[in-house]
Symmetry: C2
Subunit: 215 residues, 2 copies
Amino acid sequence: MEELYTQSARTGARLSPEERRSALINATLRCIIKEGHAGLSVRKVCQEAGVSAGLLTHHFTGKEELIIEAYRFLTKDIYSRINQSLAQVSEPSALKKLRLFIDVSFRRPVLDKDYLMVWLVFWGLSKQKPAIAVLRNEVNDTVISTLEKLMTATVSELSLEAVNVRLAATGLSALMDGLWLEWSLNSTNFSPDEAAKICQCWVDAFVANALQRLN
Amino acid sequence: MEELYTQSARTGARLSPEERRSALINATLRCIIKEGHAGLSVRKVCQEAGVSAGLLTHHFTGKEELIIEAYRFLTKDIYSRINQSLAQVSEPSALKKLRLFIDVSFRRPVLDKDYLMVWLVFWGLSKQKPAIAVLRNEVNDTVISTLEKLMTATVSELSLEAVNVRLAATGLSALMDGLWLEWSLNSTNFSPDEAAKICQCWVDAFVANALQRLN
DNA sequence: TAAGTTGTTATACAGTCGTACAATAAAAAG
DNA sequence: CTTTTTATTGTACGACTGTATAACAACTTA
């Protein structure tokens, strides 16, 4: 399995600001993966990037900006992984797209244990750093809206009974997050395939008009 | 709303080892609630407990033990909160017990935003400190087993079709965790009551034999 | 080649970190 | 009361924190 956020081959070389900023951001994520919140120190990140500690303030205003930029990169990275996986298949039916979205989410490279520490650390910072909380909420709203649209289209396609699709999508999102979290913390209780099946059951219930309580 | 883990009235007094250990553990949780992982320093915890920093090593072998004991206390505390809420009602039917468990979990004092930081910090430590991971897995298995028993009893009561109850319980647990997490991170998208309703839908689907995919 | 620009290093600074340890104060035991 | 025990304090230690800054080195432009 390919490692997340490997450092570029050239070390010690003089890089352009964009390249160096990117290298430091990747090193930040690698440090969090290795040591959690404890790995989030300027010296450790710079050493991981093969660079002197003082260089950080030359490319970032400080540690704060580095962290926020690392989070911004992470969200974009995962978002692109999901879209890349989805683009491999062209499914006209909204229902099939929905089911594909679930399956893709519980397979690499979207599913990866290394993400656990990263998300936990950033979520833990979101209370003290509002910028992170704002970013997280935006991404989350995007995901739920995506699910909601697919489910609304499914209602039309299959002529289902009216239901609060927003809450149904919220439930599916929470179910996926909960299973992802539990599997990341302890992968011995169920497999990714089983997790995907559990989520598909929520869709089954949705299609079978079994979520009428959400009204 | 009552605050979690308030310090006892007597400060500056000479306490028994058990009392002092308890006070330090409570101060630890309060520090995490206030500042997240950054609040988890010996000096901050001892100041929060109104005590000199050197006292910690007199009652604990070090920071490590304090953290693990704080986690142990936290799990017991929440477990007792759940049981206390459940004990208020005597429901003979397993299905009603199951539904009650859900409702109780999305009401105070089980549902409390202050728990978010605490869990995130401890989960973030679980990779580096195996003792925490072991404890978490034990508690999680207990919860899922509780759900599984209630659901198995429901199958008998209602003569439902055979289904993989373990996976159905895993799904319910994940759904509850995911909704708890999302609500704790951003409580503007849905209410605790709606979260409970979403979970009850999973039970509805279970009762309606809509989870047959789990076989 | 010379001058100017800028990516990079190394050092210094004032804090904070966890913890060991001697001094102190208060309770318990005699 | 005196003696013993022990909860508590204050300090000291080396290591680490984030960042500012001067010196250095590499690239660009003239």
